[in-house]
Symmetry: C2
Subunit: 227 residues, 2 copies
């Protein structure tokens, strides 16, 4: 599904260089459930953004479904992204002046889904994460963990083939975290490829494989029994 | 230090009422280290905002250092807040177009601290959370966990007598979380009162007392041995 070779990402700040990614090699197959772990600042979100076609590397190769992503223009990358990828952002990125329901409908609008179907699918997605009673709340009228769950629902509503989730349970208590992780596991068994960043071992335990990053590189990559 | 009696907070949304707090009773003494836990949406941030003089309850009493906070005007509450409370927000609330250093200097500017002292104190605060190499990065140039640590540094730089931290380690790996919690513990032993919201048992273990909330009420309040 995805083949990453010697990916680097360097930010230039005045006379300083920040090496966010220093040569990452990673292959992920369709249907996998992978947890990405590593210290704060080790490059996890940077890598997720490149995988999700939201950013471009400084050097290296990224093949998605056999296609060299670098050869795609920005608008072509956007099509790939909207068609096959669901992204849960570390800082949620919800629209502030829009209800939870409308936030989750947004990707369906881009996909050309008719209004009645959109509203129903968005409602179901929000019910799946326990927010059936919060459909018409705007983000400022939601708790931190509720905003996070709206971001999860939005990522899943298009039924993507790949979900990239950056710390999707960082603001959730253990019971609600388990509900979200069970949802990911159920969808994974139905064919959804799941790549999630987490700093919690309890959450990583739901994955079949754990990739650890440090200082912009992959330092370990191991299979494990799923919990 | 703080005495909360039958605190309620109700939001009116059209013809619906959301009872975020349903009669909270809580007393916290100077020098305590208290963890607040509970499900997503149970009222933790709402209560923290009222404790931190950032919001007013719908009913009930809140005495801070013997003073009935309801009798203070908004500007008087702001003075109390800036003088004695440091707040780590669940969504950080950093200034976007400002460097990490300047973000942490901000409370010192309000406190009338001279420029040279401010810069030095802000730098020390950022070094204490491992961000000595990120002083001139703006929030968009920082990882999620780095932004969170800037928020922690900003809350501590005025040397407040009370720190209110809402999920201060939600985006931090275990090593950096331990560094932040050790910092809180050290300051607590020096007299800082610490009230922190967390959904992780490992983090709550640093506290001397754990208060659990559910559906807008305190349902348990127990002392424990600190780790
Ligand atoms: N402005 C508002 N209008 C309506 N309802 C609100 C508003 N702000 C918060 N709420 C509701 O009040 C409840 C408590 O919110 P609060 O942010 O205190 O929860 P929390 O315990 O901090 O949750 P989390 O762990 O997810 O951060 C939630 O159900 C939320 O939807
Ligand atoms: N626009 C930028 N300019 C300069 N440096 C940046 C920029 N964006 C990120 N960085 C740096 O790149 C490094 C990697 O950032 P990244 O967000 O990928 O970390 P992360 O592993 O997701 O961390 P966290 O667990 O804290 O979210 C960090 O040290 C960060 O300061
Ligand atoms: Mg990150
Ligand atoms: Mg909260």
């Amino acid at each position: 599904l995805m083949d990453i070779q010697q990916l680097t990402k360097t930010y230039v700040m005045g006379d300083q260089m920040v090496h966010a990614l220093r040569g990452v090699d990673l292959q992920i197959s369709t249907g996998e459930f992978v947890a990405i772990m590593g210290a704060s600042g080790s490059g996890k979100s940077t890598m997720m953004n490149i995988i999700g076609c939201l950013d471009r590397p400084s050097s290296g190769k990224y093949y998605l479904q056999g296609q060299d992503v670098a050869t795609l223009r920005d608008d072509e990358q956007a099509v790939v992204r909207n068609r096959m990828i669901g992204f849960v952002f570390q800082s949620f990125n919800l629209l502030r002046r829009t209800t939870a329901l409308k936030n989750v409908e947004l990707p369906l609008i881009y996909a050309g889904i008719p209004a009645a179907d959109r509203a129903m699918r968005a409602r179901v997605a929000l019910e799946q994460v326990g927010l059936g009673q919060r459909l018409d709340h705007q983000p400022s009228q939601l708790s931190g963990g509720q905003q996070q769950r709206v971001a999860v629902a939005r990522a899943l509503v298009t039924r993507p083939s790949l979900i990239l989730a950056d710390e999707p349970t960082g603001n959730l208590d253990s019971q609600v975290s388990a509900e979200v992780m069970n949802l990911f596991q159920t969808l994974n068994r139905q064919g959804l490829t799941v790549v999630l960043v987490t700093h919690e071992d309890d959450i990583a335990a739901y994955a079949r494989r754990v990739v650890r990053m440090r200082d912009g590189m992959v330092v370990s990559d191991r299979l494990q029994d799923q919990v």
